[in-house]
């Protein structure tokens, strides 16, 4: 054995890695090049900014009631005023302020519920796909059981049992919508399980947790990110539905679903009370879905570019 572990070669140790074009730059160019993704990302960016800056953008306290100025129409109506640009609800609360704070609720639920379901679904899917056999059968059984349950009904039942709160809605949705993560993670893992680089990792003595987390997960992340965006939109819609049915986020939290629900008695005479939160909800879900579809397209392109080396 002629070499130690650290041959004294100072000339090769300098860390000046010269990378020709920064990867994020190329990524950005491709995002802008994809029209749907660009529109979706811009729209989503606006909504996220609005949610983050709600305390500064909102003209009023979203909880402050003023029964003297109930159901003022938005500014484009003859009787509207800039005092309340989007009008007020039946309790005289400023609609624009509630809409801005409502974006926070929707996004928080979308992100948290999708993250929780992603954690559950990916873990189960990767374990089932990697180990196969009995573990796969057991997890597939849980998965089919889960798929047999109607999400909205189970969510309604459980939320009336557990009581309504933001935390409960997130937990409920997180534990109910992990199925797509599991299905995708399982099938992608099955494709990669016998890849030669996994065998090569075993051949350098890597442990199973190491192989799953470091070797496998980065290679299935692309597929999972697409699912993540779609499930985020799914969770936001489910929350709105639950809130509309009165078993989601409890009032007076400004949730968009709740705003639609509270406005439904007035919808024939003051249609804007449901149109405004409805449009906001549709825009957010559309934006997230556009981003998700765009990411999926970019993934497919990626696969074509250096797909030959992948499998």
């Amino acid at each position: 054995m002629t070499t130690g572990l650290s041959p004294a070669r100072s000339d090769t140790t300098s860390l000046d890695l010269h990378v020709p074009a920064p990867a994020w730059h190329r990524a950005l160019r491709r995002i802008v090049g994809h029209r749907g993704l660009a529109i979706g990302a811009a729209l989503l960016g606006v909504i996220v900014l609005a949610a983050l800056l709600a305390p500064w953008l909102a003209p009023h306290d979203p909880y402050a009631q003023d029964l003297g100025s109930r159901l003022i129409p938005p500014v484009w109506h003859a009787t509207g005023s800039w005092q309340h640009p989007l009008g007020t609800d039946k309790l005289g609360r400023d609609y624009l302020s509630r809409l801005l704070y409502g974006a926070r609720v929707s996004l928080a639920i979308g992100v948290a519920a999708a993250a929780l379901s992603g954690l559950i679904g990916t873990t189960l899917g990767v374990l089932a796909g990697y180990f196969g056999g009995r573990i796969d059968s057991a997890i597939s059984y849980v998965l089919t059981t889960r798929l047999a349950m109607p999400v909205i009904l189970v969510a309604l039942a459980l939320s009336s049992l557990l009581g309504t709160s933001l935390k409960n809605v997130i937990l409920l949705l997180g534990f109910l919508i992990w199925d797509r993560f599991a299905v995708v993670a399982r099938s992608v893992t099955q494709q990669l399980r016998d890849a030669e680089f996994i065998a090569a990792a075993k051949a350098v003595g890597a442990s199973t947790p190491y192989i799953l987390l470091r070797e496998l997960l980065p290679n299935i992340a692309n597929a999972l990110i697409v699912v993540l965006t779609l499930e985020m939109a799914h969770a936001i819609l489910l929350e709105a539905a639950l809130s509309f049915l009165g078993l989601g986020v409890p009032p007076p939290l400004p949730s968009w679903g709740l705003m639609i629900s509270e406005g439904k008695t007035y919808m024939f005479f003051q249609p804007w009370v449901i149109v405004i939160p409805g449009v906001a909800l549709a825009a957010l879900v559309l934006a997230i879905n556009l981003v998700g579809d765009g990411l999926r397209d970019l993934n497919a392109l990626d696969g074509r570019h250096h797909g030959g080396s992948q499998r």
């Binding site: 002629t2 650290s6 041959p7 140790t13 090569a200 075993k202 051949a203 190491y210 290679n219 992948q310």
Partner: protein, 332 residues
């Protein structure tokens, strides 16, 4: 001192719907320290299963049995999975056939090389990096330090195989199992890689079990050769002896299949061994090669002996055992 790797009666069985497939049928191998042993055979003869069995990386449904399976005196068959994982990469490393797919596409070369060392050694990142750069340079890669930040898809097949070789050498293993490491490469690159591998092997004193189907490669790098047929080793000899005095009809057949200028008429058909490899399902009675052998006779239905006909030269054939005298016209 006993050999570095001692394998006696290694068997691998795979269950199939048509009964067990006996891919490896009791092979004996010894690899000395610092030696290059070539395991030669055609596709499907059990070469790769042998290498996976030695690494403990067989598919889960496969079963491995061995009378003796020792690395440096340590019984590998008795090791638990966790302890075997500690040996892999550390004492035994492996180089795979497909350099295009055996690197993880999501990590840089640097991180993969560094991790190979970090699995087994408590060294700083900088030390591991230095070792990676040093080994990459030794495999003939230029700008090794810059390339550490690159991803596998940015490299050619030849460069990737150099990375795989450097990765195998990261922990200074005693034994490297190389499963057709040059088969997927261009002939010109193949020659470079073989020369480099031979040089590094001799310099570091690493033993290599080199698996190939290519006798041209064998002639170039081997110290000793073991010829495998239908899950068994049919002949083993030092490389010179094997090429000068091949004793098993199968080995001679293989050597005859190499086209040599002057021996064949231009435009004539290339020589081939008639017949096909027997199915490895179930038992094989007698000599596995008998149905393709020009010299087969009644005695071949019995299990052939495996005599040592001269020092280090063993042949699994009744003809080699002495009588009747081997017809000589098939010798080159």
């Amino acid at each position: 001192m006993s050999a570095l790797l001692e394998v006696e009666q290694l068997q691998v069985e795979l269950p199939t719907p048509n009964g067990p497939l006996r891919a490896v049928r009791g092979i004996d191998i010894e690899v000395e320290r610092g030696e290059m042993l070539c395991l030669v055979g055609e596709s499907g003869c059990g070469k790769s299963m042998t290498s996976l069995a030695l690494m403990g990386l067989l598919p889960r449904r496969a079963t491995r049995t061995a009378k003796r399976l020792r690395l440096d005196g340590q019984d590998l068959a008795a090791l638990r999975d966790r302890d075997m994982a500690k040996l892999r990469g550390n004492r035994i490393a492996m180089i795979f056939q497909e350099p295009m797919t055996s690197l993880n596409p999501s990590h840089t070369l640097g991180s993969q090389l560094v991790e190979a060392l970090h699995q087994h050694r408590n060294v700083t990142r900088a030390q591991a990096r230095d070792r990676a750069v040093y080994l990459l340079e030794r495999t003939g890669m230029t700008n090794a330090a810059q390339r550490l930040g690159q991803y596998p898809h940015q490299l050619s097949g030849g460069l990737r195989q150099r990375v795989m070789i450097a990765m195998a050498l990261m922990c200074e293993p005693d034994l490297i199992i190389a499963d057709e490491p040059t088969t997927a490469l261009d002939v010109t690159i193949q020659a470079q890689i073989l020369r480099m591998l031979r040089e590094l092997q001799q310099e570091f004193g690493t033993a290599v079990l080199f698996i190939t189907h290519d006798l041209g490669v064998v002639a170039r790098i081997a110290d000793r050769v073991a010829v495998m047929y239908a899950g068994q080793i049919v002949e083993t000899a030092p490389v010179r002896t094997l090429f000068a005095q091949p004793a098993h009809p199968y080995t001679r057949g293989l050597l005859n299949c190499i086209p040599v200028r002057g021996r064949q008429q231009p435009g004539a058909h290339l020589t081939a061994i008639p017949g096909v490899v027997p199915s490895l399902l179930g038992e094989l009675a007698g000599c596995a090669f008998a149905n393709r052998c020009a010299h087969a006779h009644d005695a071949c239905t019995q299990t052939p002996p495996y005599p040592e006909i001269e020092a280090g030269h063993r042949v699994r054939c009744v003809l080699a055992a002495g009588e009747p005298a081997m017809p000589t016209e098939t010798l080159r």
